[in-house]
């Protein structure tokens, strides 16, 4: 039997992956997809069946990046990064990890695109750098925009990993010196229709990449089109970005009790009180960080004592800074069910920063405002002020 006609499990066995490892992997996938352990055999069967052909070819392109999303992916545990790049995908191009270099590396990319046209997955990390006609980032002696256009139109789907890939991230923050943008926006401007799945946060959480690799690729949801139904209007998987950090925060009880940290290093901080008064952006940030957590689930930002800075938000640096200040007028429950976005942000995305600034809620800080007085802030929200006294009961 030709290698490519064999089941995934048999191929994995060839690579020294035991049945037990495989089921452990399926178990962690079930947990990430919010399914019960009872679903593990079903997932295992579906994965084996869906990938009867061969390992899915993938290429990982580096844009204007810090390499943090590759680093983050290397922190994945079940499966670990070796399993991702050797047992599940065939990662034929990935600058930070690949054996080949220079022309040999570029040849691997070209061969993959030619051989697997319409069938490979493109993962994009970093911002698209359009400054100086794309010379803000040069790869292989050319503006990197050329590499994007050689690869993206031929991919089956694109995973935009990390906030820079999604919308330019910090690189696009005011004054956006190198004219950075997200891969989705760039491809739209070039009339490339390849579907883009957005996985924001800075860096991306590897658990989300794994979830998408299985959900999208192995379970065949891309071919059936089912995956598009699972995305919100910003191209983000609802299963990951459907609820706020605040919704699932373990410190939520202290918020309800009006028990707030007012100073780092205080007795209240030691009691894990709510960080809302310290500028926490959990109420307006849509990610499942509190449940999935980070680095093999050992912790996450709020658990470590820092307020959430909303790195999974669109325009997160301009929208959310100063990070340790609270915004005036930001209302919990002010967000819509469907997209989880208030009108200010929707307008900012749709009509640019000026429109965003005109919307009443005042959250949509416009870029020019930041360098003057900055966004409107307050020492303490009225709601907190009334209840702050209860916080200091030590």
């Amino acid at each position: 039997m030709a290698h490519e006609d064999r089941l995934l499990y048999e191929q994995l066995a060839d690579r020294g992956v035991t049945r037990r490892h495989f089921l452990k992997f399926c178990g962690s996938v079930a947990a990430m997809l919010g399914l019960s352990e009872a679903m593990v055999p079903t997932i295992a069967a579906a994965v084996e069946k869906a990938v009867a052909l061969k390992l899915t070819p993938a290429v990982w392109l580096d844009g204007g990046l810090c390499t943090g999303c590759t680093e983050s992916t290397a922190q994945s545990t079940y499966p670990d990064v070796a399993q991702i790049v050797l047992d599940i995908l065939s990662m034929n191009y990935m600058e930070t990890l690949m054996y080949a270099t220079g022309e040999s590396a570029e040849a691997a990319l070209k061969e993959t695109v030619a051989k697997y046209k319409g069938k490979f997955i493109m993962i994009y990390e970093g911002a698209v750098m359009t400054g100086w006609d794309g010379n803000a980032l040069r790869i292989a002696g050319k503006p990197s925009l050329e590499q994007i256009m050689e690869v993206a139109p031929n991919a089956a789907a694109i995973l935009a990993v990390g906030s820079c890939a999604v919308d330019g991230g910090w690189v696009k923050a005011y004054p956006n010196p190198a004219k950075a943008m997200g891969i989705g926006e760039y491809l739209k401007s070039q009339n490339v229709a390849t579907p883009v799945i957005n996985l924001p946060t800075c860096p991306v959480n590897p658990e989300w990449i794994v979830t998408m690799v299985v959900d999208v690729l192995l379970l065949g949801k891309l071919e059936s089109g089912a995956i598009l139904k699972d995305l919100d209007q910003f191209g983000r998987p609802k299963i990951i970005f459907g609820q706020t950090v605040h919704d699932n925060c373990p410190r939520r009880g202290h918020f309800e009790n009006g028990e707030f940290v007012q100073q780092f290093g205080s007795a209240e901080e030691a009691k894990n009180y709510c960080l809302y008064a310290m500028g926490c952006k959990g109420p307006q940030t849509y990610t499942n960080c509190p449940t999935v957590r980070w680095n093999n689930q050992v912790s996450w930002c709020v658990e470590s004592g820092s307020p959430c800075i909303g790195c999974g938000d669109f325009d997160w640096v301009d929208e959310n800074a100063p990070f340790l200040d609270r915004f005036r007028h930001i209302g919990i429950g002010q967000y819509t069910e469907t997209g989880g976005y208030n009108p200010a942000k929707v307008a900012a995305l749709a009509g640019g920063v000026v429109a965003g600034a005109l919307v009443v809620h005042g959250v949509g800080m416009y870029a020019a405002g930041r360098i003057g007085e900055g966004p409107p802030t307050e020492e303490m929200k009225d709601y907190d002020r009334k209840r702050a006294k209860k916080g200091g009961d030590s």
Binding site: L55, A105, A108, R138, V171, F264, G265, C301, A321
Partner: protein, 522 residues
């Protein structure tokens, strides 16, 4: 006849880099190193709150965000005149140490090892002999058969994934290295992926996540240590230390004898700079565990390092001429792309000089300075390594490709021990009662600098604060010291000079050049 060769992209590094070399008769005669990405962090930070620099500036590098975070926060603390409590100092030392362990393990195995170990050779290894060799080398064993089967499966499947188009059977690989050592190397390459992640989990426990952490805010730390968490951290760090001593160091010593010719090239200008890292209670730059210092070629003396002696040049980079010749405390960033021209402008990196000289930054600089200043654990471990290399009392042999690699791996061992010491120090402080962790600041104007060391070398952040906002921000990264190109006088940069004189047996596949570039962990 001379030919020009190009490596673009240089893979297995952080970020984007292009290297061009002129090769004649199998030797590199000249070299041009080009940083090919400009993002503009310094411009983005202007106008923001000083505390935001901690959160944003660390995102300049996803491999060493801890060091950038610490440099940014120290710059803010100096500008706003706040002194952090002792508890916060120890917490920061542990987080920084965990990043060093993570970064050095990741560099040696994941990024560099494939330049010295031909993974294809591992297929020829005899399993029983592999175990015997591991025992002889004093390194740990793995399930060598499973690893070899995994490799065989990759080859049989015809999908080589990240090994696609690799330089298998390259003549620059040691022709005498037994295939069993290659198999040990591949096995530990896979094992190291778990160990680098374990070190990063220590950062995540104390800083929320890695990469990009949350807690070392100006004034101290937002993390609250508990005995339970310190126990968790301690045992993870012990596991990492065991790997460093029982696997990484023996592996280094087992592979090095096959590449002793790399002691003869790759050294470069021979000037070294370190700002020092890991604070003692005084918090003074002159009083660090790994000390500051500047060492100039031909001298075995560490002079005091003075940030005022830095000037950055831009004649050969894509910046406005007005940005040139300035100290970062008054530095400016005005990008202006022209075209890629090795005879003109060819890089997004400025060319920093110290007292007019190109200086190497990195573990080799730190180890040399510490050795020359007599730092005990460094002196001890470097002397052992020098004896193994047959160069007792001659630290100057470290100024080479192999020396640079050895310095990084030896530093890993020193830091692994210190990390355990600091956890004990913090645990004792906790048992003794109150550990103060944060000191708020009320100042709203001032100038500050955070001089520090990332795993890959000397790092500086400069911040001017006016009315509570950042008026100017400048960063000089270790990679700028190393990848920076020619200065206004035409003197080559650090990696450029390290390449010159190195062999290049296959101009289609310039393995030796790639090794030298990667040895800087740019």
């Amino acid at each position: 006849m001379a030919t020009n060769i190009v490596i673009d992209p240089v893979t297995r590094i952080e970020g984007h880099l292009r290297v061009e070399c002129e090769v004649e008769n199998g030797v590199i005669k000249d070299a041009w190193v080009s940083g090919t990405l400009f993002r503009g962090m310094e411009m983005v930070l202007k106008g923001r709150a000083p505390s935001d620099a901690f959160y944003v500036a660390q995102r300049i590098c996803g491999v060493c965000p801890i060091s950038h975070g610490h440099a940014a926060t120290m710059a803010a603390e100096q500008a706003l005149e706040v002194t952090i409590p002792n508890g916060a100092r120890i917490v920061r030392n542990i987080i920084e140490a965990a990043q060093y362990l993570h970064s050095h393990i990741l560099w040696f195995y994941t990024l560099a090892a494939l330049d010295y170990i031909d993974p294809g050779k591992a297929l020829e290894a005899n399993i029983a002999n592999t175990y015997a060799l591991a025992q002889q080398a004093g390194t740990t064993t793995s399930d060598f058969k499973a690893v070899q089967d995994k490799l065989k499966g990759l080859v049989a499947g015809g999908q080589l994934s990240i090994f696609t188009n690799g330089w298998f059977n390259h003549p620059a690989y040691s022709q005498t290295m037994p295939p069993e050592l290659a198999l040990i190397g591949v096995a530990h390459y896979l094992e190291a992926l778990e160990l680098q992640a374990e070190a990063a989990r220590v950062i995540a426990i104390m800083g929320g996540k890695f990469p990009h952490f949350m807690t070392s805010l100006p004034g101290g730390t937002a993390w609250v240590p508990t005995e339970e968490k310190l126990d968790d951290i301690l045992f993870r760090l012990i596991r990492v230390r065991d790997f460093v001593y029982n696997t990484m160091i023996p592996d280094t010593l087992a592979i090095a004898p096959f590449y002793t010719e790399a002691l003869k090239y790759g050294g470069g200008h021979g000037n070294f700079l370190a700002w020092g890292v890991f604070n003692r209670e005084s918090l003074q730059m002159k009083d660090r565990y790994l000390p500051e210092g500047a060492v100039f070629a031909g001298s075995l003396k560490a002079e005091e390092a003075d940030p005022a002696k830095i000037k950055e040049y831009v004649k050969r980079s894509w910046f406005d001429a007005g940005d040139g010749g300035l100290n970062p405390a008054q530095g400016m960033t005005n990008p202006e792309f022209t075209k890629y021209d090795i005879n003109g402008q060819y890089s997004w990196a400025k060319a920093p000089r110290y007292d007019g000289k190109p200086m190497e930054a990195g573990p080799l600089s730190r180890m040399l300075v510490a050795y020359l200043k007599g730092v005990e654990p460094v002196k001890k471990i470097v002397d052992v390594a020098l004896a193994k290399l047959g160069a007792t009392g001659k630290p100057e042999v470290l100024v080479s490709l192999l020396g640079r690699i050895a310095a990084r791996n030896l530093e890993t061992a020193v830091v692994a021990d210190w990390a355990l010491e600091w956890v004990t120090e913090l645990t004792n402080a906790l048992k003794g009662g109150d550990v103060k962790l944060f000191e708020p600041s009320t100042a709203s104007s001032g100038d500050g600098a955070g001089m520090w060391e990332a795993p890959r070398g000397a790092l500086g952040h400069w911040m001017n604060v006016s009315s509570g906002r950042i008026a100017n921000y400048q960063i000089c990264t270790p990679s700028t010291w190393n990848i920076g190109g020619r200065d206004d006088a035409g003197v080559t940069g650090v990696i450029e000079q390290a390449l010159i004189g190195a062999p290049c047996i296959d101009t289609e596949k310039p393995m030796e050049a790639a090794r030298i570039v990667r040895s800087f962990d740019p």
